[in-house]
């Protein structure tokens, strides 16, 4: 529907091409993306969060502000010195949130990379070869899809313990089936296009075709999913930490800050406000970014 409207805007074909020919595909996507105000807001917020995480040691001192207890200042409501207040043992909540961003982003990004790598291999192979290979791989992935990914991550954490590395692996593995599906369907859309046939005709090997011709051309939908799943991974980390099976205190992590603040929130509501808001705004920014990218990459989907 939108497609016809887009064409209708230009009276002749010539006019239509004049506007679009000059720009490369990337520029065009970027232009589309910038048009979407919400997506730009999402990008800006996310960049700020990433910068905060990178510069955390410059913003506040990890040992003194985020870890060391300071009983004389416990449960101080927000004031000029502690803008988000202090927690039950007197640590500055702002400092803990700033340092917590590092863990969330680190685990979020690396677990999605794991999922993308393993799921990508399975999905690309399944989608490219089709037939029996596809059947076997996808049926086994379907089995995992039956278990909500939080539960799958929980099971893995339960078995191997709750270290930072284990959690990253657990979340990564629990997202793997979803990524195999995404990559598979993306691969299937480009598998039969002429340039793949051409590559095969000049004798390229299967692995070369998949890596150099197929995957490159389905990077769009994959990037969108990566964005949305980083949000999901960050949510899962804080969820696991919240129920006590993730990052443990005293390491600052948004989920465990909520869990420990919970007991004191009746009289000190502010204690659960900032950490929860940090999770919320991070996920919101990634969701906006992902939606915006999806619309920019595939304008047909836009409502």
């Amino acid at each position: 529907m939108t497609e016809t409207n887009a064409v209708r805007k230009y009276s002749t074909k010539k006019e239509f091409f004049k506007e679009y020919k000059k720009k490369s595909r990337l520029q065009e996507i970027w232009r589309m993306f910038l048009k979407n105000k919400l997506a730009v807001i999402g990008l800006v917020i996310f960049v700020i969060i990433v910068l905060t995480a990178i510069m955390a040691p410059l913003i506040s001192d990890y040992e003194n502000d985020a870890i060391k207890m300071n009983v004389s200042e416990r449960l101080t409501p927000p004031n000029s010195q502690h803008i988000f207040g202090t927690d039950e043992i007197g640590r500055d909540i702002f400092a803990r949130i700033v340092h917590g961003a590092r863990i969330s982003l680190l685990v979020g990004l690396s677990s999605v990379i794991i999922a993308l790598f393993i799921g990508g291999i399975f999905g690309a192979v399944a989608g490219f070869f089709g037939g029996k290979v596809d059947g076997i791989i996808m049926r086994s992935m379907d089995v995992f899809l039956c278990l909500p990914d939080v539960l799958l991550a929980l099971a893995i954490v339960a078995a191997f313990g709750t270290s930072l590395v284990n959690m990253t692996i657990a979340i990564g593995l629990s997202f793997t089936p979803k990524f195999s599906r995404v990559v598979r369907s993306a691969v299937m859309t480009v598998r039969d296009i002429e340039y793949v046939e051409a590559a095969r005709a000049i004798g390229a090997t299967n692995s070369r075709i998949i890596l150099q011709h197929v995957l490159i051309n389905c990077i769009g939908p994959i990037i969108v999913q990566v964005t949305l799943y980083v949000a999901n991974a960050i949510l899962t980390i804080s969820a696991l930490s919240f129920i006590g099976l993730g990052i443990k205190a005293p390491t600052p992590e948004w989920g465990n800050m909520l869990a420990s603040g919970r007991a004191f929130m009746r009289d000190n509501a502010y204690i659960v406000m900032a950490p929860g808001f940090a999770i919320f705004i991070t996920i919101l920014s990634l969701n906006l970014l992902g939606d915006g990218l999806r619309d920019a990459l595939d304008p047909r989907l836009k409502q």
């Binding site: 909500p148 893995i156 954490v157 099976l245």
Partner: protein, 312 residues
């Protein structure tokens, strides 16, 4: 139609079997000695050997797995390492609470999400429509556990209207259902809205309008049925997520359900209980996926006719 139901039921068996295998394998390779958990302070080499023999823990992996599945079919989930009571008893005691919360959340999502979605889809530029879009956008990003805490702060601590924990009576179900369902409500609302927008532009709607069908009937009879497909898909996909989220909801509201049992069992390294919880939740997801597929088949004439020789 019956043929379809039977086919789908049969397809479920290998999936549940395979899932049990996966979960069993993960749990089997858990480092540490389970007899140390069972015996606690009474741990001796001898007692450990004796218990291993009793529970068949000294047997090879596959023998243990076959035995577990054999017992499972008879409804025996094994014995808890900690309470030494049958896991099935714990599950029967806990599961109804989980079911109540999930059903409540489901009801909340559908009863609120669908009508609001439909309304804002038919009147896309109205104020209400814009408000729901914003709520929908924010709602999908709200973490269940934070929303739960905020709801407790507002409705239990500040206003004192609703209980903040437990599972006694209807009023204690309201907050957990909202906390668990809000995310999916937003999702359902957005999906319904956009598919309604899509459908309302179709030719057959214009035809109906031209025929003089009232707006009310256009929405109810012509648009809604066609717009429902994506919504049902989203509802179906979210049931799994709801069951995952129930672990968090039960933690926030201290509800003694399956999710809580799972977390407690993981903390106590009580492997049979962990396995039992995971298996029961996986079965729930499989069953609800089946139900969604059946509703799908009922609504979508294409699937229906495939299985009823074109008469459906």
């Amino acid at each position: 139609m019956i043929k379809y139901v039977v086919k789908r039921l049969l397809e479920m068996i290998p999936i549940i079997f395979a899932l049990t295998f996966v979960v069993f394998t993960i749990m089997y390779f858990t480092p540490g000695d389970p007899t140390a958990v069972i015996l606690g302070n009474e741990y001796t080499e001898e007692a450990s050997m004796r218990i291993k023999q009793e529970l068949g823990l000294d047997k090879p992996f596959f023998v243990q797995f076959v035995r577990y599945v054999g017992n499972l079919i008879r409804g025996d989930f094994g014995m808890s390492y900690i309470t030494r009571a049958p896991v099935s008893e714990q599950l029967i005691g806990r599961f109804p609470n989980t079911f109540k919360v999930v059903a409540g959340a489901m009801l909340f999502c559908v009863a609120l999400g669908v009508p609001i979605g439909v309304f804002s889809g038919t009147k896309p530029y109205s104020l209400l429509s814009n408000i729901t879009m914003v709520i929908g956008l924010l709602g999908v990003s709200l973490p269940i556990f934070w929303l739960g805490l905020l709801l407790i702060l507002l409705f239990s601590v500040k206003l004192g209207w609703l209980p903040s924990s437990g599972i006694e009576g209807f009023s204690s179900l309201i907050l957990p259902s909202i906390a668990l369902g809000a995310n999916y409500m937003a999702n359902i609302m957005r999906t319904t809205r956009s598919s309604m927008l899509e459908v309302i532009r179709q030719d057959y709607i214009r035809t109906a309008k031209a025929k003089g069908v009232s707006q009310r009937n256009i929405v109810r009879k012509h648009a809604l049925r066609n717009a429902m497909m994506p919504t049902i898909t989203v509802i179906g996909m979210n049931i799994g997520a709801l069951l995952g989220g129930v672990v968090l909801t039960e933690t926030v509201f201290s509800i003694p359900g399956t999710g809580r049992l799972l977390v407690e069992s993981i903390n106590n390294r009580d492997t049979p209980s962990v396995l039992g919880c995971l298996v029961i939740m996986a079965v729930c997801v499989a069953v609800s996926n089946l139900i969604v597929d059946l509703i799908y088949a009922y609504i979508d004439p294409q699937i229906k006719s495939q299985y009823s020789g074109g008469r459906g």
